[in-house]
Symmetry: C2
Subunit: 207 residues, 2 copies
DNA sequence: ATAACATCGTTACATATGTAACGCTGTATT
DNA sequence: AATACAGCGTTACATATGTAACGATGTTAT
C-alpha cells in the first residue's frame, strides 16, 4: 500500500468513509462497489481502484465489509493517535465552524481557538477554549498541534499564517480568500466560498 | 472565445479577478502574467493560457491592463445582469455565510434566506430577508432565482434540494456533507469542510 | 462436487489538465 | 529609423486523472 495518495483520491476516501458510516448506522453490513459509487457520485471502477490504494480487499459476490473497510480507510487516512486541531479567527465563520466540527470527527478535534480580540480569551465556544493570538506558540507546543483552520479576514491571513508556520503548523485549512505564501513543506487546503459560488452560478447558467 | 470553460479554469478566473481587484485598489494599472501567476499560485504559462479562454489580449512589455481585464473576466464569468441568489438553512453556518457574502459580490447577491423554523421568517440577517421554506416557489419565481446555497443539516439536504430543483434552481452550492441526487442539467458545487480538514491533516502529515 | 455467475483486482486505454518551449509583436532605446 | 528585448499567444508535449475492459476468484445453487 503506497504511503502517498493523490489529492483527489484522499478526498474520495474521506467521502467513502462518511458514506460507509451512514450505512453502518443503518445496520448495513456489506456493500458493493456499485452502490458505494452511486452514493459518492463516481463510477464503480473508480471505487475499486481507490480500494487498491488503501490496500483493502473485498470478496466477490459479497462486496466490501462496511465495518472493516471503515477501519482500513481510517488506518490509511488518520494519524495513529487522535490529532489536535486549532482554529484562528473567532468571528461568525469561525464560530460556525467550531459548531460544525464539534463531535463530528473524534480523531481530529479542535482543541483551541485564537482571536486577537482579548475579550474572547477564556471563553468556551462549542466545547473549544479561546486564547489570545500571542499564546499560539505555547498552546501549539503543549498540544502538539500540526493542523490549523484559518478563518480570519483576508487582510490578516498572511500575518496569522506566518505565526502558525513558526509555531509548527504543517497542514492549513484556509477559508480566507487569499493565496497564502508558505514554505514548500507546508500543505494549504483552500476553501474559497466566493469562487465556489461563482462556479455554481456559472455552470448553473451553462449546462 | 469558447462559451464553456472547464471547472478548474473557471475557478482560476474567479481567483484572478479577485487578485486583480486588490491590485486595482492599490492603484496598480497593469500586471504581467508572471506576477499574477505568483499571486495565484500557478505558472505564468497557465495564466496566459487562461487569458486565451477569456479572449483577452495583453500587450508585450506592458502586460495586462488591470481594469479592462477585470471587465473581460466579468463578461465571461458573470451573467449579463446581476443575479439573485438564495440560501436555505439559517443556522450558524448559514448566518456566517450571509455575513460573509454581504456586499462581497454585487452581481451575485443573496436576496432571500429560508428556514423551516417559522420564527425566523420576517427577520433580516446581514441585509437578507428570511422566509419560511414553503415560500420557496413564490420567492424564487418573483426574483428569478437560479443559484442557491444549501446550509441545512445533512439529513434534510436531499429533501430541500428537491424543493429547490422544482422551484427552478440551476446551480447549487452545497455545504451539507452528502452527495445530492439531482437531474443531469443541474450543477452541484460541493463544499465539504470535513473532507477538506481531513485532507489538510493528511497532507500536512505526509509532505 | 461442480458449474454458473456476480463481483472483485488489475492492467491497459482515453481524456483532461498542466507545463514548457518557441516564434511573434510591440515598445523603448540609440 | 533600426535594433534589441521583454513579454505575449500559440502549439506541442508531459503528466495526472478517470474510464473501461478482462481475467481471476469466491459463493451459491443444483
Amino acid at each position: 500500500m503506497p504511503l502517498l495518495a493523490s489529492d483527489r483520491t484522499v478526498g474520495r476516501l474521506s467521502l467513502y468513509r462518511r458514506l460507509l458510516s451512514h450505512l453502518l448506522q443503518e445496520k448495513v453490513r456489506s456493500v458493493f462497489s456499485h452502490r458505494l459509487a452511486e452514493a459518492a457520485g463516481v463510477t464503480a471502477a473508480q471505487v475499486r481502484r481507490d480500494m487498491m490504494v488503501v490496500g483493502y480487499n473485498g470478496i466477490p459476490t459479497k462486496g466490501y465489509d462496511v465495518e472493516s473497510l471503515i477501519e482500513s480507510i481510517g488506518q490509511f487516512l488518520d494519524a495513529p493517535d487522535p490529532e489536535a486541531v486549532a482554529l484562528v479567527g473567532v468571528g461568525n465563520l469561525g464560530r460556525a465552524i467550531l459548531s460544525y466540527f464539534d463531535g463530528r470527527r473524534p480523531n481530529l478535534k479542535i482543541v483551541a481557538a485564537f482571536d486577537n480580540d482579548p475579550s474572547k480569551a477564556g471563553q468556551v465556544i462549542s466545547g473549544c477554549r479561546c486564547y489570545a493570538v500571542r499564546q499560539i506558540p505555547e498552546v501549539f507546543a503543549e498540544n502538539e498541534i500540526a493542523t490549523v483552520i484559518i478563518t480570519v479576514p483576508a487582510d490578516q491571513a498572511q500575518e496569522v499564517c506566518d505565526l502558525l508556520v513558526d509555531a509548527g503548523a504543517k497542514g492549513i485549512l484556509n477559508f480566507a480568500p487569499v493565496g497564502l505564501r508558505v514554505p514548500a513543506y507546508i500543505h494549504v487546503e483552500n476553501v474559497d466560498m466566493t469562487t465556489s459560488l461563482e462556479k455554481a452560478a456559472y455552470f448553473g447558467r451553462r449546462p
